[in-house]
Amino acid sequence: MSNRVELESRGLGMQFGGVHALAGVDFKLRRQELRCLIGPNGAGKSTFFKCVCGMLKPTAGDITIRGQRTNGLLPHQVARLGIGIKTQVPSVMNGLTVRENLWLAARRDNTSAVANRLVADIMDRLLITDLAAELLETLAHGKRQLVELGIVLAGQPWLILLDEPAAGLTADEVDRMIDVITDINRESSLIIVEHDMHFVRRIARQVTVFHQGRVLIDADVDTVMASQDVRDVYLGKQV
């Protein structure tokens, strides 16, 4: 594993009117890392996430992805850098089939022939081949989460951002999701925003805790779980 920093934010700030959703976030992600972002509601996790993927334009500070400054880039431009994004509420194309959803993601960078192969591979890998001809709107939540992950993979990203991938999944589906994520991590770096502590405990090595728009602590998972500060934040005490 190389130690090269692939994504970095310095003094990242995002202000909505008088509210500082992010108040100076310094963050570094190294190659092939799997990083979990946790923190209570309103801590700024999702805002940070949106700033990274271009859905929000930060009001202060810088984001650098593989040496390129990306604040101000639009979502499609960030995506073209090789970044795959799974949103909190599954963002999929409801009226299209599973295959078409994956194909559109795969086709952007590839010829149709390559895209077809890629889609077949990914459906195999996620065990959703039998759903290929189903419309997304007919699928249950857990399957939609999985398909969205497939869409992200079809773009062949080297960095993947997942916003609450375990939300609303059954225990079995969570197991499956963990397998998939572990598998993905062999090739790609991952940033995962998650609320579910059990889930975080199972997959995380390095955890970043957000609190009031800042990074409270950035450490390995055991240290974070043992931290009194983190407990206090989650219980709503002042730190």
Partner: protein
């Protein structure tokens, strides 16, 4: 692609081209064909790219006016024919870029496009003065522009396209445009457009530049509307500001809704049926015909919310499923809520 998309259109389209003039008056059929092409243009950008343009009449009118003005200046009609397609396409590309790069969406887009056609309507209505002159063509205000050259047979400039020959030409173009759109929708660009309609955010996260793609789709739609306007100008042999009117704009949307948004054939059917109904209603004075069209729209929205054409397709599938011998042909009973292949 050929067997599934091009062939059926030819199998139905070519015989229809020869049978229809035996059943109906070619003069009426020609204007219905122009309307069908206009409906197809909106059916494409609204039904497949998700752009609700309330001012599609603007491109129709621009096509017609461009043709008339160019024909008066050039003294022939084939150059103007292409100008009539190009001018609305370029206008829409510039206008569309302003809208889509400005992230204007949904209802705002509908309002802005509506205002655009009303501005053109007002302008053309007040262009009666001597100063409103482009080359040899006076815009003529409320009276419009009459007396321009119309299309001739390319290899025989003395022979004008009118009545039946104009109908064949118009209908041939309708079939051609329909086939081109079906092929486009099978290509990666077309499929991505449908993806944008389904979920803009996801399309962006996939790396598609939705601003550029919507601008291109908008421009293609305008080119088709311009072509329809050109055919209309050849049919009417006069262009007037009424082409840009609110009524004309609303009517296009009604054709698409009643015929079936989200399909290509639906708008064509809608335009033909409603256009013909309006023509029949115009021959009587008992009921106001806009009232009847309004009633048809309301009934269609309430009873056939998917539109006439998709409902017919569903009825057809339903009937097929009832026939035991044909049952194995049906792959799966639950087809898409929009029948995207049609």
């Amino acid at each position: 692609m050929f067997a599934r998309d091009v062939l059926p259109a030819l199998i139905i389209g070519v015989p229809a081209m020869f049978v229809l003039p035996m059943l109906f008056d070619a003069y009426t059929l020609t204007v219905l064909t122009a309307y069908a092409l206009l409906a197809l243009s909106l059916g494409f950008i609204w039904g497949f790219a998700g752009i609700l343009c309330f001012g599609q009449a603007a491109f129709f009118g621009l096509g017609a006016y461009s043709f008339a003005i160019a024909a008066l200046n050039m003294g022939s009609a084939w150059g103007p024919f292409f100008i009539a397609i190009l001018v609305p396409a370029v206008f829409a590309a510039v206008f569309g870029a302003l809208l889509f790069y400005g992230r204007l969406s949904d209802v705002y887009l509908a309002v802005v496009t509506l205002v655009m056609t009303l501005i053109l309507f007002k302008f053309m209505n007040s262009s009666a003065g001597e100063i409103y002159k482009l080359g040899d063509a006076r815009l003529g205000g409320y009276n419009g522009i009459p007396g321009f050259e119309t299309l001739t047979i390319p290899w025989d400039p003395g022979e004008y396209l009118y009545d039946e020959s104009l109908f064949y030409f118009a209908f041939g173009l309708l079939v051609l445009v329909y086939i081109l759109l079906r092929v486009l929708l099978k290509m990666p660009f077309g499929r991505a457009l449908v993806g944008i309609r389904e979920n803009e955010q996801r399309a962006e996260l996939m790396g598609y530049d939705i601003r550029l793609m919507k601008t291109i789709a908008f421009s293609i739609g305008a080119a088709i509307a311009g072509l329809a306007g050109c055919l209309f100008a050849n049919w009417a042999e006069i262009v007037t500001p009424a082409l840009f009117s609110l009524g004309q704009s609303a009517e296009i949307i009604i054709w698409v809704i009643v015929g079936g948004a989200g399909t290509l054939l639906g708008p064509v059917v809608g335009a033909a049926i409603l256009g013909y109904t309006k023509f029949l209603l115009g021959q009587q004075s008992l009921i106001d015909n806009t009232f009847v069209l309004g009633v048809i729209l309301i009934l269609a929205v309430l009873l056939l919310p998917q539109g006439i054409f998709p409902s017919l397709v569903r009825l057809w599938h339903w009937l097929l499923a009832r026939l035991p011998s044909a049952a194995p042909l049906r792959r799966r009973s639950g087809r898409s809520r929009r029948d995207k292949d049609v």
